[in-house]
């Protein structure tokens, strides 16, 4: 009995207490301003030329590379050093007021020190408004590898500001075609993301297509016509060792690595019709994943590695489909036009990117998987071969520019475009390499 009474009392007290708080909070209803839109502009960042001590190799400055990297994303705009009021290299030298006046949001300062044959970099990133250091690290690289050091710094800066790992240390693979020698010359090349330090991995008079990076970034799979017919090779970059993995009658094309790097998805027409297969690289065992009278091709694993995106013309024209699991009935993803092909999902399962034809022009488009909302990302007209950066923030694709094919990087939402320096001839089939830890 007494227990019940006290319980009741307690409840009354509780009610009064709650009412009191409701009343008080009601009386003290604080103003709430909700910001739902951000600046539709790049973030201003000042990358101050690094101080140098000891013999630092000539050539592109670290700060210049970092500036270039950040600019490429379309998310940043950097302040030309000529407009800087001072060139600090340490926190003590940073006058935030100056940088505020210059409209800068972040300031990167640093110093390079020669240490033997290595260069050591110390760098700090400041939030000008908050007057806080949000990044402070040191990194070292061989004096011969200053670009890697710069890209590493770019990655760190990018991640510090955006919360997303930078992808500036990753590699690109692409195929160039020229006629310099009078004959077609196909070259498989690997470069930094800014197109620099490109190295030719394979040269052929026959077409080279569809390079695909292994998850560890150590191997490339591609289609080569060097034998007169399309054959899938796996190429170890470090050793240059090439392995012919698919040389079936008919079409051997569109290789795509599994997350574990143990198998490849590929399109084979050995049975007469183009179907999707999975090949275990160790055993060379094939698993047929599609069986349809229409063409099924260009398969790739989805973000969580359990389902597969593919292109199929089973509806009459090429469209993007998704198989929940290998062998399941594909579900159509794209409906916006009669031609949607070459799906490339991002790594976090939000979007799938693809080539989208509309009014006779080919664009890069994406569809948000959750909503099915399609966005056309490019305005150029002959866009092909989209490839998403491993951090999902950038996209590279091939397009025509001034009579030749070039590679262009855009931010994943279709922002600012950055064209890679034109190589000799046409550039095709870019593939963005993985993040290498």
């Amino acid at each position: 009995m007494t227990h019940r009474i006290s319980n009741k009392r307690f409840r009354t007290f509780l009610i009064v207490f709650v009412l009191f708080f409701v009343a008080v909070s009601g009386a003290r209803a604080e103003l709430l301003i909700r910001i739902t839109e951000g600046a539709n502009a790049a973030i201003p960042v000042a990358v101050v030329p690094f101080a140098e001590s000891g013999q630092v190799p000539a050539g592109d400055k670290v700060s210049t590379i970092v500036q270039s990297d950040l600019t490429m994303t379309g998310e940043f705009r950097t302040l030309p050093p000529g407009k800087m009021l001072s060139l600090p290299s340490r926190r003590e030298e940073v006058y935030f007021r100056d940088w505020r006046l210059l409209g800068q949001r972040y300031v990167l300062v640093g110093a390079l020190t020669r240490s033997g044959d290595r260069i050591e970099a110390r760098f700090e990133l400041f939030d000008v408004n908050r007057e806080e250091r949000i990044l402070g690290e040191t990194a070292a690289a061989p004096a011969s590898n200053m670009r890697s050091l710069a890209h590493h710094i770019s990655d760190k800066v990018y991640e510090a500001i955006t919360g997303v790992p930078g992808a500036f240390s990753t590699k690109l693979a692409y195929v160039t075609l020229d006629n310099v020698t009078g004959k077609p010359r196909y070259r498989l090349q690997v470069s930094d993301v800014d197109g620099k330090r490109a190295r030719i991995r394979l040269e052929s008079q026959e077409p080279i297509l569809s390079p695909a990076w292994s998850p560890d970034g150590k191997r490339l799979a591609y289609v080569s016509f060097e034998t007169g017919k399309p054959v899938i090779f796996v190429h170890e970059l470090a050793s240059g060792k090439r392995t012919k993995v698919a040389d079936f009658p008919g079409l051997n094309s569109a290789p795509a690595w599994s997350d574990d790097g143990q198998s490849l998805l590929m399109t084979l027409s050995k049975d007469g019709n183009a179907e999707i297969y999975r090949m275990d690289l160790g055993s060379r065992q094939l698993t047929k994943l599609t069986n349809h009278w229409a063409i099924d091709t260009e398969a790739s694993w989805d973000a969580d590695g359990s389902g597969i995106f593919l292109t199929s013309d089973r509806s009459g024209g090429p469209q993007i489909y998704h198989m929940e699991r290998p062998g399941a009935e594909p579900r159509r993803i794209t409906f916006g036009s009669r031609y949607n092909a070459r799906p490339r999902p991002d790594d976090d399962g939000q979007f799938v990117y693809y080539v989208h034809q509309r009014d006779g022009a080919f664009h890069i488009a994406r569809t948000e998987l959750k909503t099915g909302e399609e966005t056309i990302l490019t305005r150029t007209g002959s866009d092909e071969s989209p490839s998403v950066a491993p951090n999902g923030r950038m996209l590279i694709y091939a397009t025509r520019q001034g009579g030749s094919n070039v590679l262009t990087v855009i931010s994943a939402d279709g922002g600012a475009a950055y064209s890679l320096p034109a190589a000799e001839g046409d550039v095709r089939d870019p593939a963005w390499g993985p993040l290498v830890r």
């Binding site: 910001i35 839109e37 951000g38 973030i43 408004n129 955006t162």
Partner: protein, 343 residues
Amino acid sequence: MRDHQREVTTTGVPPWKSPVALSVALHLLILGVALAGWSWTSSEHEPPPRSISARLITQQEPEPSPVVEPNDQQERNEERRAEEQRRQAEAARQEEARRIAEQKRQDEQEKRQQQEERERQVAEAKEREAQKAREAEAARQKARAEAKEQARQKAEEEKRRQEEAKRLAEEQKRKQEEQRKREEAERKRQEEQARQEAERKRLEAERKLREQQLEAQADAAQKARAEEARRQQEAAAAKAREAQMLSESEKYQALIRERLSQKWYPPSSATEEMTARLQITLLPTGELAGVKLVGTSGNTAFDNSALSAVRSLNRYPIPKERDTFERYFRQFTIEFNPRRMIR
């Protein structure tokens, strides 16, 4: 005043009724009665003195006979009475002298007339005795009359005096009474006057009081009306102010929203699910006094972008009115939550 005077005259005694006049009349009456009485007694005793005076004539120079006189006396009462008095005194004296002469003559004739005398004496004695007795009686009566008269006069005097005193007393009393009455009347009049005055004053006071009350009521009503009007006006003003403040506040909220939107760079990692809540404290100048992350988005870069945006404004657009500022912008919350990320 006039009433009082009238009252005095009406209550006054006519002059013929005045005590003095009465007294005089009474005296005259008494004197008249007394003279009449005297006249009666003296005429009764007239014969003996006449015989005695015959003897006196022999001894003295004859004098006009008093017999004639009564005629005169009757004519002149006043003189006669005075003469009578004088003569009475004279008679008394003459009586004394005659008695002595008689004694002498008796002594001389005693012998010769012893016998006769004796007889006559006896008769005379008898006569004398009778005379004497009569005289004595007369004297006595006279004395008595005199005494009586005196007593009467005295009594009269006394009475008169007493009456006078009484009259005076009465007069006094009357006067006093009158005075008292007058005073009473005066007092009453004064009292009445005072009462009337008091009444008048009371009425006046009441009137004044009523007027004051009315005035006060009117005043109060006026004040109440004014107060009500003022209150309503104030309420309306407050309401208007409230509305004004609200609209002001909304204006500046919009300004702040716009400015912050321009300064906010949502990081690449931002999603619609992310919300960073910041509590902002401003100085009245619009400068940022403090910012506190009260709700994290779970993404450091996102939180930082919000913090940086909030700190990027040199001055917040705030209303000039201090009360609006204090109410809405002294401290408020900003929520960063991207509605539509195109990325």
